[in-house]
Amino acid sequence: MTDELEQLYQTTYTAVVRFLYRKVWDAERAEDLAQEVFVRALTHRPEKPRAWVFAVAANLARDEARAAVRRKRHLTLLKADPVAQPTVEPAADVLVEHDERVASVQQALSTLTPRDREILLLWDAGLSYPEIATQTGLALGAVGTTLARARRRLIDAHDRQHTIEGSHAAHS
């Protein structure tokens, strides 16, 4: 028995994992959360499952971020220097390691406002303009405006980094 949700699962699971990964930066956690999303979809049987799945994924990622902040309060991170005073390091240290190019995109993405970033990621996950509008509460006409700004900012931020890196390389 194949149902609508199973088809959705086959076609969008990877997109949901990617969407979550770009929020929690932990591949395994993203998979766990994506599975949780589909389990919830199976128990709720939403009317518009595709938009619903991404809405729930966004909520789970938000909860996850809050939990991460709570966890970090309990973890003392010390600088490598043995004589240095212990300090609590910010989240940046705990991010997943990846190669520089990936880090530069991640960095560029972090310069966007949360709303612009959300809409760009939803678009990239394959949601249509009406779906994005419904999920974010944005007017349909404003989706294009937001995406135009988000794309421009992402590319600008990314190019700016590369100019800086380039000039560093030239000096060394």
Partner: protein
């Protein structure tokens, strides 16, 4: 003739416009070289965005069988149903008593008209017993003169109002999908090997984290990909019998490990920052593990154990200094 604004070109390329808007834009594009150039520029920008974002993908993704999710959903639903049944049972008891009282106002004790309605609630026999003392109330005479149809409707309405409401189960908390922390072992996820001390030393050499002079209880190794230094957990026993663990590995793996532990542990057992006053630590954490972590480049060194935080701090500093000098 107005030129096409940038956001409309985005929406046009994203197929986010209505058919009529598309026709309008296409007819303008056909005649306007500057808008054509703008469109090409935006198409390129759009492609670059997609290409950049495609780098931000998790390394791998193995979707589990849908059937396994279906089973998980089914078990959650049945757990919810059990809770709902319990609530419904409690509510129906209340409803039965309530209905009995109300029915006594509406029905003569032996009048058969009320029976079909009474059949709606199986618990009515219980309720009639409760209801009997009310039979001699003066109100009975008035209500008994109500037309049978109206009477049935009234009973139905009461029955509907009194039907148990299903209390929605609380939303699933994230914490409930985490594996509870076991009291015995140090919980590890992923692929782990338990190794002999000699074997681990051969593999990790000087980078094997441990406190000199303490007996080693267990060495666990998680090999990461690309032949990098693995993530290691060395358990050692203090003279007092307490087990402390030293962990060394890539920052992301170690913090993931700690996060997993912290999440499955409702009590904040990790040591707060040094700025926090000592007495803020609850007294019952004496038996709980504390954790000290130190960032070393892209790797992380951690000591965890049921020790005062200043002891752990001293240990991790010494250990770090030793590992550096090797």
């Amino acid at each position: 003739m107005r030129h096409i604004p940038e956001d409309e070109l985005h929406a046009y390329l994203d197929q986010g416009l209505s058919r009529s808007q598309c026709v309008e834009i296409e007819s303008h594009l056909a005649a306007c070289a500057s808008c054509q150039a703008a469109r090409d520029g935006i198409a390129a920008l759009r492609d670059r965005t997609t290409a950049l974002l495609s780098k931000l993908a998790p390394p791998r993704s193995f979707p589990p069988e849908f059937e396994s999710l279906r089973r998980r959903a089914a078990s959650e639903v049945s757990a919810r149903r059990r809770r709902a049944h319990l609530a419904a049972w409690a509510a129906s008891l209340v409803a039965a008593v309530g209905l009995g009282w109300t029915a006594s106002f509406l029905l003569r004790p032996h009048e058969p008209v009320g029976l079909p309605a009474a059949g709606q609630v199986a618990t009515l026999p219980v309720s009639t017993r409760v209801a009997r003392p009310a039979d001699d109330r003066p109100a009975r005479r008035d209500t008994a003169t109500i037309q049978p149809s109206r009477r049935r409707a009234a009973v139905k309405a009461v029955a509907a109002a009194a039907l148990p409401r299903v209390i929605p189960p609380p939303a699933l908390e994230l914490s409930s999908i985490d594996i509870p922390r076991s009291d015995v072992g140090f919980e590890l996820d992923g692929m782990w090997r338990t190794m002999s001390w000699a074997g681990a030393q051969a593999e990790a050499g000087d980078q094997l984290p441990h406190i000199d002079g303490l007996p080693v209880v267990q060495v666990q190794v998680q090999t990461s990909e690309q032949g990098k230094q693995p993530l290691m957990v060395v358990a050692q026993q203090l003279a007092s019998g307490e087990v402390i663990r030293t962990i060394e590995g890539p920052t992301s793996d170690v913090s993931h490990l700690l996060a997993r532990r912290a999440m499955s542990d409702p009590m904040p057992t990790m040591t707060p920052g040094d700025s926090a006053p000592r007495d803020a630590v609850p007294s019952d954490t004496d038996h709980a593990d504390r954790t000290m972590a130190m960032q070393r480049g892209d790797r992380m060194l951690v000591i965890t154990g049921a020790l005062p935080s200043d002891s752990l701090l001293a240990m991790i500093r010494r250990l770090n200094a030793e590992m550096r000098s090797k």
